[in-house]
């Protein structure tokens, strides 16, 4: 648990996502791509329905559209105040060809000249939380820097065998942007925790590892949420909402049971509406589900889950929560109840 006087100095100033084109119904997609009827029935039974396809658009295109949305809302003035740019992704190929760089393209398109810019990779969907953690470290050690910009882009490569995540998810293409700062916050970042499980670093690369990942994911996810709650000094029930990644609904239902919270504490709507945008799920779920809850005074927890044994969780608080003491206080009634 953090020191009770630990200050939460940073949060999200603006958030945007680009889900390209119209949502595609997997019923239509299955018919057009020869997906087995039994698999389609299982997907529908697991509440999987819509996704987005970027077509020929690049990762930089998707990120640019998300940044354009923030520009439309706030103007361009903030672009010159971005001290740090961090790009997180899960899909190994979701980037321009080596040795070129999605960051170079983004900076070039928007005239952003960060002091440091880099990608965080090979942590799968935990990478976006690690990016927030690193952005906070950089802003904390550089009071002159006003903003950090965190971007994500993930696209699916290949047909239905890659688009469909076994029988319980569909992967969507998306780009997102989170503007991180100190003032005028939509939400303030609380504690971040990492929970690592050795032995899965090679990912789903063999039948044995696939089986191990499937078997252990719910328990590992439960442990990661418990660790975050410990860091916050409160019970998991104190979180008004838990944000998942947008796939594997049955896992989240099981995890809710493990954690002793009602199933609807998890924001599961986007498993149906959006699909799994990998590192983009954080921004998408915040926009669609988390920020309204935070705006109403609740605290939200997100799990950056991966199939590499790396988990990164983050608490997202109302802007008025500035220390761990503040953080615990509004939750006390809920915990006691």
């Amino acid at each position: 648990m953090l020191d009770r006087a630990h200050r939460f100095d940073f949060g999200i100033v603006a958030a945007a996502c680009e889900l390209p084109g119209d949502a595609i119904d997997i019923v239509d997609y299955a018919a057009a791509n020869g997906v087995d009827e039994r698999l389609l029935a299982e997907l529908l039974a697991n509440h999987v329905r819509y996704f987005h396809d970027a077509g020929p658009r690049s990762d930089a295109d998707l990120v640019a559209s998300a940044i354009d949305a923030i520009v439309a809302e706030r103007g361009r003035g903030w672009l010159g105040k971005v001290g740090y740019l961090i790009h997180a992704r899960t899909q190994p190929f979701s980037c321009p060809p080596a040795p070129t760089s999605v960051i170079g393209e983004i900076c070039d398109r928007f005239g952003i000249a960060p002091k440091l810019a880099f990608g965080i990779e090979q942590l799968a969907c935990a990478g976006v939380v690690a990016a927030i953690d690193r952005a906070m470290m950089l802003l904390r050690t550089d009071p002159a820097a006003e903003f950090a910009l965190i971007t994500t882009a993930d696209r699916v490569f290949g047909g239905a065998e890659w688009r469909l995540r076994q029988n319980a998810g569909v992967q969507t293409d998306a780009g997102t942007a989170l503007l991180i700062g100190r003032e005028q916050l939509l939400t303030r970042f609380g504690p971040i925790t990492y929970t690592m499980f050795p032995g899965l670093a090679e990912g789903p690369s063999s039948p044995q590892l696939n089986a191990m990942i499937a078997r252990t994911t719910p328990f590992q996810t439960k442990r990661s949420f418990e660790r975050l709650a410990d860091a916050c000094g409160m019970a998991i029930g104190g979180f008004a909402q838990l944000l998942p990644i947008n796939a594997d609904r049955h896992y989240w239902v099981e995890i809710a049971r493990f954690l002793g919270v009602p199933e609807d504490r998890f924001f599961l709507d986007n498993i149906t509406r959006r699909g799994h945008a990998l590192c983009g799920d954080l921004a998408i779920n915040l926009i669609d589900g988390g920020l309204p809850v935070i705006g109403a005074g609740g605290t939200v927890a997100y799990c950056g889950q991966s199939n590499l044994g790396a988990y990164a969780n983050i608490a997202l608080c109302p802007p008025g929560v500035e220390t761990l003491v503040d953080f615990i206080r509004p939750q006390a009634a809920d915990v006691d109840a």
Binding site: H87, C107, L116, F118, R134, F157, M196, E202
Partner: protein
């Protein structure tokens, strides 16, 4: 006191082979995802499915066999560093791995593999830095300095088709490296006195740009990075500072030495100027500096530089110590760490 001490440094440089294709190693079934429609923006645009060679005048570069992954190279480099200085292993608090080319295994994570193999206790600060072209090291040094954590820096690349191993007149090698850096090392082979990072616009049309344009672009980036070191402000006006950096060819090395007014550690026609060790390149430049200091029996200052067509570049002023001890594939501090 240096901004960062550099302890053990190891290089893994495979034996040199002669190639007549500009593309990296063609490995059956690897990178097939890049030939589906989504891959069109993630592979070099002039490479179609089925193209596994692009004729090039013969060139030599370090090359590993088809079964050896870039992850394996990184493992060997870190293992050598840990073997050279076992006492330092427990002091490592963070791991930053650097990689430009996707590993041929695709779904695995090299940084997590290294963490699980060597630094399990450093679980909360492990990541791969990417999207910095072949010039990630200055950013990694800056991050290590800003976190204040004792950090293992590793880098590895293996060039696999359809990515270009020979591009714009530069021959990229398969290679890996590891260095242990921090503020509290008890022994060091060098001190990092200053680091400069440049995030510039990428080279336009890098796949078809004339060699002269590429070299001019890289030289310009490197000069910007070296200028940020402000060597002229050193007590002796920087006149005793040596120069070492990427192997982009004798022409770049010679022009840069003249523009910067520094004496190159290597003669322009030295074979090392013809081989670029990819993400590990700056480690090699530092190793050259340490070797020179040991040979001279005196501390020397070296300005090391790296520049990539991605628009990323950087430089560091490195104070190399004469009492470093040679290991099988690198250097370690005489007094342990």
């Amino acid at each position: 006191m240096s901004m960062l001490e550099l302890g053990t440094l190891t290089l893994v440089v495979p034996t040199t082979e002669t190639h007549t294709s500009a593309l990296g190693q063609a490995i059956a079934s690897v990178n097939n995802h890049l030939y589906v429609s989504a891959g069109a923006v993630s592979r070099p645009p002039n490479i179609r499915r089925g193209v596994t060679t692009v004729w090039s005048p013969p060139y030599e570069t370090p090359t590993v066999g088809p079964m050896v992954r870039s992850s394996d190279l990184a493992y060997d480099a870190v293992a050598a560093a840990v073997a050279a200085c076992p006492a330092a292993r427990d002091d490592i608090q963070a791991l930053l791995h650097m990689q430009c080319v996707v590993d041929q295994q695709i779904v695995g994570s090299t940084c997590l593999r290294l963490q699980q193999s060597f630094f399990r206790h450093a679980a909360e600060s492990v990541m791969t830095l990417g999207q910095l072209g072949t010039a990630p090291m200055p950013t990694a040094l800056a991050l290590a300095q800003r976190t204040g954590l004792t950090t293992a820096l590793s880098a590895s690349d293996k060039w696999v088709a359809p990515f270009f191993r020979r591009l714009g007149g530069t021959s990229f090698g398969d290679a890996a490296a590891c260095a242990l850096v921090g503020h509290r090392l008890t022994g060091a082979i060098a001190g990092i006195e200053h680091v400069a990072v440049v995030n510039g616009a990428p080279l336009p049309s890098p796949w078809t740009a004339p060699v002269s344009d590429v070299r001019s672009f890289l030289g310009s980036l490197a000069i910007k990075a070296l200028a940020k070191l402000r060597l002229g402000a050193l007590p002796n006006g920087g006149r005793n500072v040596w120069l070492a950096g990427d192997g982009h060819g004798a022409e770049v090395a010679d022009a840069l030495a003249q523009d910067a007014g520094l004496v190159p550690l290597l003669e322009p026609d030295n074979p090392m100027n013809q081989v670029h060790l990819s993400s590990a390149s700056l480690f090699a430049a530092i190793a050259q500096g340490v070797a020179h200091a040991v040979k001279a029996g005196d501390t020397i200052d070296v300005a090391v530089w790296t520049a990539s067509i991605s628009g990323h570049a950087g430089a560091a002023l490195v104070r190399c110590r004469p009492d470093a001890m040679a290991t099988t594939n690198g250097w370690m501090a005489a007094t342990g760490q």
